[in-house]
């Protein structure tokens, strides 16, 4: 398509805007080396510990999401009609409630619905917000992984399942040794974006008091009044994490690729 006229002008204006935008704001990039009031060390250390919490939450929840997602995704492809209905209900339940509300449900509502003693024990745990965030993100993402897993299994030729059972494997064995290993290879690209999503979504846990990266940037802004430095740093860290994850997953894709089998993404996932 030919180049639309007028865009260059728009960009010149945007660049101008960037240069003049911030007038009475006092930039202070050395803020990162100053001591922060939260006692961790410098503001840099504050953000670093935020990143560690973000990654710890995302990785733990990701393991949970992969396991649960594989199970539910498999159930959705089973011959039993009721099993499929259960799988679909599971997916719809976690997909149609905002993540923020799910956080609140796990944090405020769940401890009240279980027996009082267990609820009190949960509420008194030192890392309650971390555990809640992992549970919430794990279940939330598992429903999205499940959709990908069933799409991956569905995209396999029917002959693979028949070949498996013809070789004398039971149905669970066919899933375990034939279908799931292939399906997971096929859905690696959408799983990559789900993993990136779980890292980003962990920031919602700041509403229940988890001091992850975004929360740390926010607290840095509150203590130091250096709004834009704090958020710029957090943004840069998120970008670096993204790039690292994307490249690691590309390596993994190459490593696990089955020779002679063209791997392509399936079922594009909307949302974030």
């Amino acid at each position: 398509m030919s180049q639309p006229i007028g865009f260059t002008q728009i960009f010149n204006i945007t660049i101008l805007l960037r240069g003049n935008r911030i007038m009475n704001y006092h930039w202070n990039w050395r803020i990162f080396w100053q001591a922060s009031p939260d006692g961790v060390g410098t503001y840099m250390d504050t953000l670093w510990s935020g990143l560690l919490w973000t990654m710890a939450t995302a990785l733990t929840a990701w393991v949970m999401a992969l396991i649960l997602g594989a199970v539910i995704g498999t159930i959705r492809t089973m011959p039993n009609k009721w099993a499929v209905r259960f799988g679909n209900a599971y997916v719809e339940l976690f997909r149609n409630i905002p993540l923020l509300v799910q956080m609140f449900l796990w944090y405020f509502v769940m401890p009240e619905l279980i027996p009082t003693a267990a609820g009190n024990w949960l509420k008194a745990m030192p890392n309650a917000s971390f555990i809640t965030a992992v549970l919430c993100l794990g279940f939330f993402t598992s429903s999205r992984v499940a959709v990908q897993v069933s799409a991956g299994i569905g995209s396999l030729p029917n002959g693979q399942k028949m070949a498996g059972t013809a070789l004398g494997l039971t149905l669970p064995q066919t899933y375990r040794y034939v279908l799931l290993p292939m399906a997971f290879r096929i859905i690696l690209p959408p799983l990559t974006s789900e993993f990136l999503n779980i890292i980003k979504n962990s920031s919602v846990a700041l509403t229940i008091g988890l001091m992850e990266l975004t929360a740390r940037a926010r607290s840095m802004q509150e203590f130091s009044f250096q709004v834009f430095e704090a958020f710029t740093a957090a943004t840069l860290i998120y970008i670096v994490v993204n790039i690292v994850v994307v490249n690691l997953m590309r390596l993994l894709e190459k490593k696990v690729a089955v020779p002679g089998f063209i791997v392509a993404g399936t079922a594009s996932a909307g949302g974030h």
């Binding site: 398509m1 030919s2 180049q3 639309p4 865009f7 260059t8 960009f11 805007l17 003049n20 935008r21 911030i22 007038m23 009475n24 704001y25 719809e92 339940l93 997909r95 149609n96 409630i97 905002p98 993540l99 923020l100 509300v101 799910q102 609140f104 449900l105 405020f108 509502v109 009240e112 619905l113 990136l196 890292i199 980003k200 979504n201 962990s202 920031s203 919602v204 700041l206 509403t207 975004t214 940037a217 926010r218 802004q221 709004v227 834009f228 958020f231 957090a234 943004t235 998120y238 970008i239 993204n242 909307g270 949302g271 974030h272």
Partner: protein
């Protein structure tokens, strides 16, 4: 199990929840969708432009926004918009921007990146021959886009655009971090005032579930109807 709970709180507050909270949420969703699709379409056209700088700028913007968590973007614009506004009208001090306009700008700019990817797929789903045919008839770039490519791209992508809008509708709840009274914010205010967190959050979850599930069923129906038979 629900012995200690008092579900009357919902009866007492539902008018407030829907007139104040849900109205805000729905208005924000609707305007952010219109703005986001518009800006997203322009971004998609820029990404597909043959000019390297133009497509680089759009690609950079989309990748930047897509690698940031929405909560962080909401914080960014909450602090940034007053400065941008001051620059636009030439004021010396950062201007005061209302909660609605501030979050509307945030969601338009954020969702545009996601709508852009959808519209890009939509534009690419139209055979290139149609663009050439447009040029052969003497149409300009804008005439070809607005008369031939975009109407078909929109039609092909309506189900995906609407699915993304359901995601947007859920995402709007995150304005809670700015203490704005959207549906979740209203419910949480009542919940904290009356000490009825369990009842209120269960009710909020139920309302969201019914709305989003119903809408997604409608989108599925629509998907079958708008599909162009080739």
């Amino acid at each position: 199990m629900f012995g200690n709970f008092d579900f009357d709180v919902i009866q007492r507050s539902w008018v407030y929840l829907f007139t104040t909270g849900m109205t805000f949420t729905l208005q924000l969703t609707l305007f952010a969708m219109i703005g986001g699709v518009f800006l997203g379409t322009i971004l998609a056209m820029m990404r597909l432009s043959s000019s390297k700088p133009v497509s680089l700028v759009a690609t950079g913007y989309v990748n930047l926004v897509r690698s940031m968590p929405l909560v962080l973007v909401i914080f960014w614009f909450y602090f940034l918009v007053p400065y941008i506004g001051a620059w636009l009208i030439g004021a010396k001090e950062p201007i005061k921007v209302g909660a609605f306009s501030s979050s509307l700008i945030t969601f338009i700019l954020f969702e545009a990146a996601y709508y852009c990817e959808i519209m890009r797929a939509g534009i690419q789903s139209i055979p290139r021959g149609q663009v050439s045919a447009g040029y052969a008839l003497g149409m300009s770039y804008w005439q070809t886009m607005s008369n031939i490519v975009l109407p078909q791209a929109f039609r092909n992508m309506i189900p995906v655009l609407l699915t993304q809008t359901i995601v947007l509708f859920q995402d709007v709840s995150l304005v809670y971090v700015l203490s704005i009274t959207d549906f979740v914010g209203a419910a949480s205010k009542v919940a904290q005032r009356d000490g009825r967190l369990v009842e209120m959050y269960l009710f909020v979850a139920l309302v969201y579930f019914v709305l989003c599930f119903g809408l997604s069923l409608l989108v599925k129906k629509l998907q079958q109807r708008v599909a162009i038979i080739r």
